[in-house]
């Protein structure tokens, strides 16, 4: 008898499941912050070395991002281990980010192969916008949605300014698209987990 659910309880169970799934949407924002800060530091360092010191190998600073890839792999492996349920949203976002990573490398390869160095940063800005905008739409996080739109606007602006300053557009893009939304997500996540810690 105690297993018998009335209509109200059944609806509560469904609502509970939805809320659980909703809580899963509120991710910690760690990867947005880590990647945002890494790209921000690299792009500014690249710009300073190139613009002020005329250092020809300034692009080597981007090798630093490989450390972030390693961190990301460990982070995601840990997350997967602790994750009890893989929600539909997780699945969609998985496809969005796989798509971004694949396109990013294909695009860099295409542009380098064709020696279209001037296009690289503008194209990167277009690509940054896609997963950011879609993550914002799927997770219903406005700051990500706006961040994505900002990347498209910066991509358009990049056409009118010297390539030398494109790196600063990249810095601005990651600040608006990843770091600020990352902080927002982190705050939401901490606010959500706080009561659980207090218990």
């Amino acid at each position: 008898m105690e297993d018998v659910f009335d209509e109200k309880q059944s609806l509560e169970l469904i609502a509970g499941m939805i809320n659980k799934a909703k809580n899963k949407f509120t991710e910690s924002g760690t990867l947005y912050l880590v990647w945002g800060i890494a790209v921000l530091v690299c792009s500014i360092a690249h710009f300073i070395l190139w613009h002020f010191f005329h250092y020809k190998q300034a692009h080597y600073v981007w090798f630093f991002t490989w450390l972030v890839y390693i961190y990301q792999a460990i982070f995601l492996a840990k997350k997967k281990k602790n994750q009890k349920v893989r929600t539909y949203t997780d699945e969609i976002l998985g496809y969005v980010w796989i798509c971004f990573i694949f396109c990013f490398f294909v695009m860099i390869f295409i542009l380098l192969y064709n020696r279209k160095f001037d296009l690289i940063y503008s194209a990167i800005l277009v690509l940054y916008a896609i997963p950011t905008f879609l993550s914002g739409a799927i997770l219903k996080v406005k700051s990500l949605l706006i961040g994505g739109i900002c990347c498209w606007v910066l991509a358009c602006i990049s056409v009118f300014i010297s390539v030398e300053f494109h790196l600063l557009l990249i810095s601005t893009a990651v600040l608006l698209a990843w770091i600020i939304p990352g902080i927002n997500l982190r705050n939401k996540y901490l606010a959500q987990t706080k009561p659980a810690h207090n218990l």
């Binding site: 296009l119 905008f133 879609l134 994505g148």
Partner: protein, 201 residues
């Protein structure tokens, strides 16, 4: 009294409630039968434009900018979208996400094709094909529809292949992308929809 007795009898058990939820989910999955019309329209259009463009290059003919037809194809797309929206009283999370995917794709296509080709001259076909792969792959993944997932991957492979090929071949590769990423998956979706309609009758 009678009513409470009835409720107790009709009240589902824990397992029955879970079964009900599962049934609702599977019903929702089955009822979401994307007809594949848009996919077929765009697939056939891209294939057609690619082939006409190839004829133009190969036989040195000029039919004008055939790719402008894609703008005309937006009209039925908008018409059907509005019509479908009016006939429905709900929008699923899946459909909302799909709409955003198309918005993202359209904006990226516009920026890449217009700005890049206008201000910086050069062949941007590999980039266009790479962009074709994005909505195809994501929507394929969202609907768990393998022909579209493969279609997306096909576009990316073609974008890499097109780096080594002449412009004449590039437009044929573009036609192949339209065929494999949208037209064929669209036909499969349409046939599935027709089958499900017959099954419901």
């Amino acid at each position: 009294m009678m009513e409470s007795e009835y409720n107790r009898e009709a009240a589902p058990t824990h397992q029955q409630s879970l079964d009900l939820i599962n049934e609702m989910i599977s019903k929702a999955k089955k009822s979401y039968t994307s007809k594949g019309i848009a996919s077929m329209v765009w697939g056939s259009l891209i294939t057609f434009c690619g082939l006409v463009n190839w004829v133009e290059i190969h036989f040195k003919k000029d039919f004008g900018d055939v790719w402008l037809l894609t703008l005309i194809a937006l009209i039925p797309q908008i018409y059907f979208s509005i019509k479908e929206k009016r006939s429905k009283n709900f929008i699923s999370h899946n459909e909302i996400a799909t709409n955003y995917v198309w918005i993202a794709f359209t904006l990226s296509m516009f920026i890449t094709s217009f700005y890049f080709s206008y201000f910086i001259k050069g062949n941007i076909t590999p980039l266009i094909m790479m962009l074709f792969g994005i909505p195809t792959f994501i929507i394929g993944g969202m609907q768990n529809f393998k022909p579209m997932i493969f279609g997306g991957i096909f576009c990316w492979v073609m974008s890499i292949v097109s780096m080594h090929s002449a412009d004449e071949i590039d437009v044929l590769l573009m036609a192949a992308c339209g065929l494999f990423a949208w037209l064929i998956p669209g036909i499969i979706l349409w046939r599935r929809y027709k089958k499900s309609m017959v099954a419901h009758v």
